[in-house]
């Protein structure tokens, strides 16, 4: 965190100054470790075993927060009899179809009911919930299990508040993690048992009624074939310890760069609409009503999905969206499968994707298997790159590595590449949404130089010109574009759209154009418009709430008047859980919100933060029979977005790869899975093993010894992601002038690597070279009873710019997390040797020789 989020790390330092203990778990000793109380080096790719070990410790030693767990989690809920755990099936859950590489989650359900996920793969119960009348028009991997799902149950799930029923979630959890012992953690992760116990003790001592522990993570957790399950493992632990919805608790996702959170809330993702509303799939004859019936949860705030969606459609299509035309629901594109970044590359290689926009993204060095990214772009008709500098993604056609090897010749590439300079954040108005969901407005300081323009300018004027060109068209296909509400006021000599007008549209307004102040005001009848329901209120009273900058010293510790947090300016989500079932704070020390019986007519929720609960819903409230949406939640259901109002230790629905996190080895790993016969995540999203995307043998498979070291990629404070914002800046480039790898003195001795000399690093995909930093900060680990060396690879570089080097991402395969379609850049296997890599065609020959030596073909590593 100190490395990649130095500004946010000031708060960790502040907490430390007040006595907080800081534990840093990372394969490398980083700038964060330098300031932490405890550094735990572990094998990259083994975190679920580590976290599962802590879960087991908490359960074995009765360290969980029992009152919290019983009242607020699904621990007491009883599962169906046909559910089988990984303990029963040696590493897989019931419902696995190895042919389609997917799970049918019917057997994962609660006894007697069926759940809808708060977000994620909600579509899987589609057919069941719509009465089976529709069929999946074009089944794709992501929804192949769409016909699954449990029967729609009546009434409440069965519960055992003593947590003793053998099929209750708590007991299932206990059995699931029983073998995640300190001995096993030591074997798998390379963490000595006493160090592991120290972590367990620190975490449990600092959790409970009086104290809370927070987890902060970053892409070191997400970029794995089991990335989502890493975070799930933390969620299980934090729920058991009662650390969610309380001050000083939580699981904090440190996002990759400014406003990545914003680009998830108002997504640049293929499968989501603003506010986490799923993008509709290509079912036949699916209208708005059928979509909402299939997607909306019956209980909780997702029960109001129709109001959110109709308001969104009104924001998109304005007056054209009417009750008579289903509010233009049919104008929304439909998904026919996964259209993630990497599938888009595959579509380029196949010729199906012919045009590509890159807004501040540099896949030619920043994406996994960078070579495939470039080869994909070489098949395009046109490519538009908007960036500050001539990044590698804009110049691969004249000076990319494939030109050097002779595989591509500039004169043969028919891709027309447009480079359009982009304005920096100081040159435009806008908002950043940070990790804690805080929207902070930034004002333009200077005009962008030359032809540089903001992304808003580009998108607005592109839309305007396209609409001009289509004007008068009678083609039905053009209606969605022509009917768009596309009127934004512009200003200045560059006719820059007014960013505040966009924020006002996102906030939403009523039928009379008055700004809305809360998503509770949204209607499903077309009388309200709102561009993103969770952002509703950011422009309350016609005031840009995100631009508020009242200093912290002038307000209380919650600092509610600094900027604006979604939803409803709430700083801690699910904060009803900071009070006990009766509505009293669990402890005075950790008081956040509470039920005040003397407030309002019959009592109200009150506190330091905005309560994440219906204001006047008393703790003893029981919902009436047959209630739906938020009304169906009781006064003791703090997790209001969940269909049952509870924190999920166990996930019956919404994940493609299992209801509980289980340790699987990375796609390419030098070790076998010690816990299960199942080596890898059986439903990992495996892209085709093209000649340039070969997978490696793992564990005990012959050939795995060819790639004996674990590699992990990361960032340095001095540079930004794929380098587009830093490698061209002299002041940043001089601080880290070259690509380097980090190795331990022991590995350097083993392989003859010299400090500041050169190393060649090889995987089944590529060969790269890097300068060598030999450092004690890389430490060899004892894993599976033998010494493991790890290789650290910062991934900022490419051949262009002021600070140059090979791209670490060349080495990485395209086996992805099945939920998020994210690459596994944080744990893979490589070989390292001294000296520079071969140039030109000889470099391809070296990789081919390695593949031959390891016996790699198109089947290697592809088994479920």
């Amino acid at each position: 965190m100190a490395e990649c989020h130095p500004v946010g790390f000031q708060w960790v330092m502040e907490a430390k100054a007040r006595g907080a203990k800081v534990i840093h778990v990372d394969p490398r000793f980083t700038r964060t470790s330098a300031l932490a109380d405890v550094h735990v080096p572990l094998r990259a790719g083994s975190d679920i075993a580590f976290l599962g070990g802590i879960v087991n410790y908490v359960l074995q030693h009765e360290k969980y927060f029992r009152d919290y767990v019983v009242a607020y989690s699904n621990a007491p809920v009883i599962l169906r009899e046909d559910f089988r755990d990984t303990e029963d099936l040696d590493g897989v859950f019931s419902g696995l179809d190895t042919d389609t590489r997917s799970y049918d989650n019917a057997s994962w359900q609660y006894e007697g009911t069926e759940m809808q996920a708060a977000s994620g793969e909600r579509d899987r119960e589609y057919e069941e919930r719509t009465g089976g009348g529709s069929t999946v028009a074009e089944a794709a991997r992501g929804e192949a299990h769409g016909s699954g799902g449990a029967a729609i149950g009546e009434g409440e799930p069965e519960r055992d508040e003593t947590l003793s029923h053998p099929r209750c979630v708590f007991q299932v959890l206990r059995r699931h993690y029983a073998r995640y012992t300190p001995e096993l953690v030591e074997q798998i992760c390379g963490v000595p048992q006493d160090l592991f116990r120290q972590v367990c003790e620190l975490v449990t001592e600092n959790s409970g009624r009086e104290r809370t522990t927070a987890f902060a993570y970053s892409v070191g957790w997400t970029q794995h074939t089991v990335g989502v399950q890493y975070i799930r493992a933390a969620a299980v632990l934090q729920t058991l310890l009662g650390n969610i919805g309380r001050p000083g608790g939580g699981i904090l996702a440190l996002r990759g760069h400014a406003s990545i959170q914003g680009s998830t809330d108002i997504p640049t993702l293929f499968n989501l609409l603003p506010g986490y509303i799923p993008m509709p799939h290509a079912h036949q004859n699916q209208d708005l009503e059928a979509f909402v019936r299939a997607e909306a949860a019956r209980k909780g705030y997702w029960g109001n999905m129709r109001a959110y969606l109709v308001s969104l459609l009104k924001a998109y299509w304005g007056d054209a969206a009417t009750a008579g035309n289903d509010f233009c629901f049919d104008y929304l594109p439909r998904l026919t499968g996964s259209h993630s970044t990497y599938e888009t590359t595959m579509a380029q290689l196949e010729g199906a994707c012919q045009g590509y926009f890159l807004f501040g993204e540099n896949p030619a060095v920043g994406n996994a298997n960078s070579r495939l990214m470039r080869l994909g772009m070489a098949q395009l008709d046109w490519l538009v790159v908007r960036d500050f500098s001539l990044i590698e993604s804009a110049t691969w056609w004249q000076d990319g590595p494939e030109i050097e090897t002779g595989e591509l010749r500039t004169q043969d590439i028919r891709t027309e590449v447009f480079f359009l300079p982009a304005a920096a954040h100081t040159e435009k108005d806008g908002s950043f949404t940070n990790t804690q969901r805080l929207l902070q407005w930034h004002h333009q300081a200077v005009e962008p130089p030359g032809e540089a323009r903001s992304d808003l300018w580009f998108a607005y004027h592109l839309g305007r010109i396209i609409r001009q060109k289509l004007a008068g068209s009678a083609d039905e296909m053009d209606r969605p574009v022509l009917d768009l509400a596309w009127n934004y006021p512009t200003k200045g000599e560059h006719t820059e759209p007014d960013a505040q007008a966009v924020l006002a549209e996102i906030n939403g307004h009523d039928a009379d154009g008055r700004p809305l102040s809360s998503y509770e005001e949204l209607k499903g009848d077309g009388s309200t418009a709102c561009g993103c329901w969770i952002y509703c209120g950011v422009y309350a009273d016609g005031v840009n709430q995100a631009a508020r900058r009242k200093p912290g010293r002038e307000q209380d510790w919650v600092a509610a008047e600094w900027a604006w947090a979604w939803p409803a300016n709430r700083r801690i989500l699910n904060n009803r859980a900071s009070a006990d079932p009766e509505g009293r704070p669990w402890s005075e020390r950790k008081a956040l919100v509470w039920w005040d019986p003397d407030k309002g007519e019959r009592g109200e929720w009150s506190g330091h933060d905005v309560p994440d609960f219906k204001k006047d819903k008393a703790p003893d409230h029981r919902p009436p029979e047959g209630a739906t949406g938020p009304e169906a939640l009781s006064g003791r259901d703090p997790f209001v977005m969940q269909a049952d109002g509870k924190a999920w230790l166990y996930v019956p629905s919404g994940l493609t790869d299992g209801p509980l996190p289980a340790h699987y080895e990375p796609q390419d790993s030098p070790f076998p899975n010690l816990l299960y016969a199942q080596q890898r995540n059986p439903v990992r999203h495996l892209l085709p093993a093209l000649p340039d995307n070969r997978y490696q043998p793992s564990g005990t498979e012959p050939g795995s010894e060819v790639f004996p070291y674990v590699a992990t990629t990361y960032r340095l404070t001095e540079h930004h992601t794929a380098g587009g914002m830093s490698r061209w800046q002299p002041y940043l480039a001089e601080l880290q002038p070259e690509f380097f790898c980090e190795v331990s003195p022991e590995l350097a001795a083993e392989r003859g690597l010299e400090h500041t000399g050169w190393a060649t690093i090889v995987s089944a995909r590529a060969v790269i070279e890097a300068r060598v930093l030999v450092t004690d900060r890389m430490t060899p680990l004892r894993v599976h009873g033998r010494t493991l060396h790890q290789v650290g690879l910062p991934y900022h570089w490419g051949p262009n710019g002021y600070s140059t080097g090979d791209a670490a991402n060349e080495l990485v395969h395209l086996s992805l997390d099945p939920n998020t379609h994210i690459q596994e850049t944080k744990a893979f296997a490589v070989d390292i040797r001294p000296g520079r890599r071969p140039r030109g065609p000889a470099s391809l020959e070296l990789v081919r020789a390695y593949r031959a030596r390891a016996g790699i073909d198109e089947h290697t590593g592809t088994e479920p």
Binding site: R31, S33, E734, D776
Partner: protein
């Protein structure tokens, strides 16, 4: 040394125990003062590619990787009985303490011009380019500097430096231009962890003393101040530090002395010598027979 009567002496307290090595100070300094980039060299000195303070680096973050035995004694000041070559050969492989536990430390410290109470650079400057400001800081006026370079060897810390292409001397101004309009220096402003603190020197000294006490109570017995004492060889630094090891570890002189300390005495001796010579000569003439 104080500032003007109505302006307290201002300075830096750099608390290296909370430095995260982000180098924001280096970048902010270069941005604000428009200092040129000065070379892309991977040094292999941990993450320190800046290497030293100089004409084009007015802030420098040092990175020191150390292995120290857990709970072990302070590194001894004398190393007479240590075979350094044998110790070096064990680097990285020697567990360092009998139970196999070593503490890996990564020290980071942002160095800067010390703005000495007795500033030799200022003493030797023949043009008056270097002067003491109303804030008690020492600043070079680039439009006055003639590039004589006398100040460079005069600095006991090796801070001030001539820029190769123009020959003039450059160093930290403690952002004199920002101070003049009531702003803090760029480096302190950009520091995310308040490792670099700017303020009235007296206040900083009190804060620093309290911080050392706090660290000692917390068991960080290595914590010590550097350059805060008005009794040291430069009369105390306007920019002083909290360190976690001996100054030499950070590349700082352990006992800096203002290089012009002995000048008055030298001049006195020279004057005495001259007078003696003159007297001798006069006496010689006086004795000459007419």
């Amino acid at each position: 040394m104080t500032g003007d009567d109505d302006t307290p002496r201002m300075g830096f307290f750099t608390d290296t125990s909370v430095c995260i090595g982000c180098k924001a100070c280096e970048v902010a300094c270069k941005e604000w003062n428009a200092i040129p980039e000065d070379g892309l060299e991977l040094t292999g000195m941990s993450y320190d590619n800046t290497q030293r303070l100089g004409s084009d680096s007015w802030r420098h973050v040092a990175f020191i990787e150390q292995r120290k035995p857990f709970g072990g004694p302070e590194p001894a000041l004398t190393h007479e009985d240590v075979d350094v070559f044998a110790a070096a050969s064990r680097l990285g492989t020697d567990p360092g303490s009998p139970d196999g536990h070593t503490e890996l430390r990564w020290l980071m410290a942002s160095d800067v011009c010390k703005h000495c109470t007795h500033a030799a650079c200022l003493d030797v400057c023949p043009t008056g380019s270097l002067f003491r400001t109303e804030f008690g800081t020492v600043v070079v006026q680039e439009d006055v500097c003639n590039g004589c370079g006398y100040c460079v060897p005069a600095c006991p810390y090796g801070v001030i430096d001539q820029r190769r292409d123009d020959g003039r001397a450059w160093k930290c101004t403690l952002c004199y231009d920002r101070l003049g309009v009531g702003m803090e220096p760029a480096c302190a402003k950009s520091c995310p962890t308040e490792s670099i603190q700017f303020g009235p020197l007296q206040e900083l000294r009190e804060r620093a003393a309290a911080r050392v006490r706090q660290l000692h109570t917390a068991g960080v017995t290595d914590a010590r101040l550097y350059g805060e004492s008005p009794d040291d060889g430069v009369g105390g630094d306007g920019a002083f530090f909290l360190l976690l090891d001996e100054p030499e570890v950070y590349g700082l002189p352990p006992d800096p002395v203002v290089t012009t300390r002995d000048l008055p005495a030298m001049w006195r001796h020279a004057a005495l010598a001259a007078a003696s010579l003159a007297a001798l000569a006069a006496a010689g003439f006086a004795r000459r027979p007419r």
